[in-house]
């Protein structure tokens, strides 16, 4: 279906999030949308999919002007959207998830639905158990499920907002294959991302957004530098890799075994020195998250010892880890990291050490202004966190970290950030390393892991590789290990 967006404007208070956007997506094409954090990409997509309304402008589908005033309107007209932050999934089975939103009478025919679902997913080579509970699926599987659900509801335009963050390389390949197949069937696909290589690889055409405006459209063959220049208004390059001297031993895992209902990771031994960065690689759900959460004191290992600078933490509650200077930043920002309804100022107050009984709001406001400036957050002290763009939420989360931290545990620290911000965030993190903070982080991006880690642990099906020296490891080697070769 052909989609035309004509003279779209959207304001949020003083922010002009979409400024006179004109965009046409032909049917059967994959349209890429590129732009830095807060450029207005999600806003435009939310307008198209009925989550918010434009202040002015027109939307045409196959040439007919339409008014889309709710997500259900949108899906009725054939527009389906996969969100940047996956909405909360209730603990229900896959089939029931499909049955919702479909008007099939009071007593739907489950068996029929399962049959049709399996037929549909086999077209794309997905293998989701229709009877599995949705909350046990990986991010990649949920995404596949969401695509199937939208197709099921009759979507002919598919919008994906940052779909490649948090999924494994093979899931990404499958996703791209699926999107190509859908485009070949005449669907329009709109693909929003920061990742240049993904967009370049997949899209038939790329529109670049900057500060609320559509600053250019590019056709293949793409020139990366040109795209970067359009995105940021200048050329930027990756920072040279620098190493920091390590000091005395800090964080120890000694014969640690972790178990949960999905997997068991046995006998992990690791010593992390001050200022060292350890990257955790592996397919999603291979145990990295369990490992990080064990280091954070959120999961109790079934065997082994954990200590930090000689202080025994084994079996201690989460708070003791926190007090020892271990900080954990979860990947699901809105579910686990931030508190909807509270402002940035309130978040920074919560993150600070309590000082007296009453809050000193003037001081808090000053700190918040400082942090907003330091971390380049697009928002004001009174902005609620849900009004920030995805990337700015991530910045806020990182800005909330307390000052002296011994060990930082980061789940996908640059997920949703554009390259410039990612480089900049890592600059901030490396500054902390210089002051002696160690970092353990997960990422789905192998380049990022190789670029910023000193050593790398690869996870595969509950097994952990011995630490690899990042300097002497290549992407290919890492890729093979992640795929299970060499274990």
């Amino acid at each position: 279906m052909k989609v035309e967006l004509i003279h779209i404007h959207k304001h949020f208070g003083a922010v002009h999030a979409n400024n006179d956007i004109n965009l046409t997506v032909e049917s059967g094409k994959i349209q890429g949308i590129l732009g830095e954090n807060g450029a207005g990409k999600s806003t435009l997509m939310k307008i198209l999919s009925g989550y918010i309304q434009a202040d002015s402008g027109e939307i045409r589908l196959d040439g007919t002007p339409v008014k889309i005033s709710s997500p259900s309107d949108a899906i009725r007209m054939g527009i389906g959207m996969l969100h940047q932050d996956p909405l909360d999934f209730p603990p229900m089975r896959v089939v029931d998830n499909l049955l919702i939103g479909q008007d099939g009478g009071l007593f739907p025919n489950r068996r029929e639905v399962v049959r049709a679902f399996n037929e549909l997913q086999s077209q794309f080579g997905f293998s989701i158990d229709p009877y599995a509970y949705v909350d046990t699926l990986t991010v990649g599987e949920r995404q596949q499920l969401e695509i199937l659900r939208l197709l099921w509801l009759g979507a002919r335009v598919l919008i994906l907002d940052e779909p490649t963050t948090g999924i494994s390389a093979s899931q990404k390949e499958k996703l791209f294959e699926t999107l190509r197949k859908l485009a070949a069937q005449g669907m329009s696909v709109i693909f929003v991302s920061h990742k240049l290589e993904d967009v370049e690889f997949l899209c038939d055409r790329i529109a670049v957004f900057r500060k609320g405006e559509l600053v250019g459209e590019v056709d293949p063959p793409y020139v990366t530098d040109e795209l970067v220049k359009l995105m940021f208004g200048r050329v930027i390059s990756l920072e040279e890799k620098r190493r920091y001297e390590t000091c005395d031993v800090s964080f120890h895992l000694d014969h640690v075994t972790i178990e949960d209902y999905r997997l068991q990771i046995r006998d992990i031994n690791l010593t992390v020195s001050c200022g060292e960065v350890i990257g955790l690689a592996g397919m999603e759900g291979s145990g990295q998250v369990q490992f990080l959460r064990t280091c954070a004191g959120l999961i109790r290992p079934v065997a082994g010892e954990i200590n930090l600078g000689g202080r025994r933490l084994t079996g201690k509650p989460y708070r003791a880890f926190l007090e020892a200077g271990i900080a954990y930043v979860p990947a699901s920002r809105m579910e686990e990291g931030l508190i909807p309804g509270l402002s940035l100022t309130e978040h920074f107050i919560l993150a600070e050490e309590q000082n007296g009984f009453f809050i000193n709001f003037d001081k808090a406001l000053a700190t918040t202004r400082q942090r907003i400036e330091d971390f380049n957050i697009k928002g004001t002290p009174v902005s609620t966190v849900e009004s920030l763009s995805g990337g700015n939420q991530q910045r806020a989360l990182l800005a909330m970290l307390r000052q002296p931290v011994n060990l930082l545990l980061l789940e996908h620290p640059t997920r949703g950030l554009d390259i410039e911000s990612a480089i900049w965030i890592w600059g901030k993190l490396k500054e902390r390393c210089k002051q002696g903070t160690s970092i353990i982080f997960t990422s789905a991006d192998l380049e990022e892991i190789l670029q910023y880690s000193d050593r790398i642990l690869v996870f595969y099906g509950g097994k952990v590789s011995p630490p690899l020296d990042a300097e002497s490891t290549t992407v290919e080697q890492l890729g093979q290990l992640i795929g299970g070769k060499g274990f």
Partner: protein, 348 residues
Amino acid sequence: MTMMKTSSRWSGIGFQALAVLLALAFTTVVMLISGADPLQVYQNIITGALGSPTKVDDILVAWTPLLLATAGLLLTFTAGLWNIGIEGQITLGAIFTTWALRVLQPTDLPPTLIVAVGFLAGALGGMFWAGLVGLLKIFGNVNEIFGGLGLNFVATALTIWLIFGPWKRPGVGSMSGTEPFPLELWLPTLPGFRLSPLALAMGIIAIAIVYILLRGTYFGLRLKAVGRNGRAAFLMGIPTTRYMLMAFLLCGLMAGLAGATQVLAVYHRLIPSISSGYGFLGMMVAMLVNYQALWAAPVALFFAALNIGSIQLPIVLKLDSSLSGVLQGSLVLFVLLMDGVRRRLTRS
């Protein structure tokens, strides 16, 4: 930015006003259906509430426990908890106060001290019952709504048992309650009125404290965080279960004090429905003011006035006095409804 803030505030007030009108219209329809003349009814409610100094006195007497209950509930609501058990907590406060008074009455302690101990006991009683709800929720995984509901029934049963059993009046127990306490154990009132300034002051102080707590303290902000996203709050290092328990205990404390004032300042004995529904009424007030402490006091006063104003309806117009309940309930419903509508319309 500020422009937007004020304009959204004005639209908010507009919607609230619309909600009040709708609630009045709805109540009017109910009156018409039940064959009453709405004008006459409203007029009666107004004269019933403000017609004489005694009526105003009655309103203030009703306002006191309502303020205390609302103050407590603002804390539990902020922590994301539905403290349905507040009724039972008020009742337990009354029971504990009565108990303390019964025990100390025969001693020759000064009456002022006995009354003070009575308040203390009431507060403890409310905290005890609220603490149970909290513990059941935190350690027993029993939702506070079910726990509270269950404990409300137990509290009622306990009252009845006490009145007709161990604490029954000499001779035969009756629904009119236990033997009244002697005059010196009554909380002093304004001469010629029923209002005890001390009790009223307590209610006002309670709501003021809650306002300050929620407005300007770490405690209040953390409570908010716990209520809005417990998981994130926990990861930030806020001991969430402790905060939930504290919210319950503080709410129980205030509910218990409400129960104590009912005994010490109003009924001077334990009666079967000593809580008089002020707990549930407090829930409505808290919902109506959207959990903002600032508005709680005037709205509570208005609700108290409605309650008092409708008392004479049965006598004068042969209508049930629950009409005020219809108005109160529909107010809450329409305000919530209009809030939803506003959000839909201005969703950005």
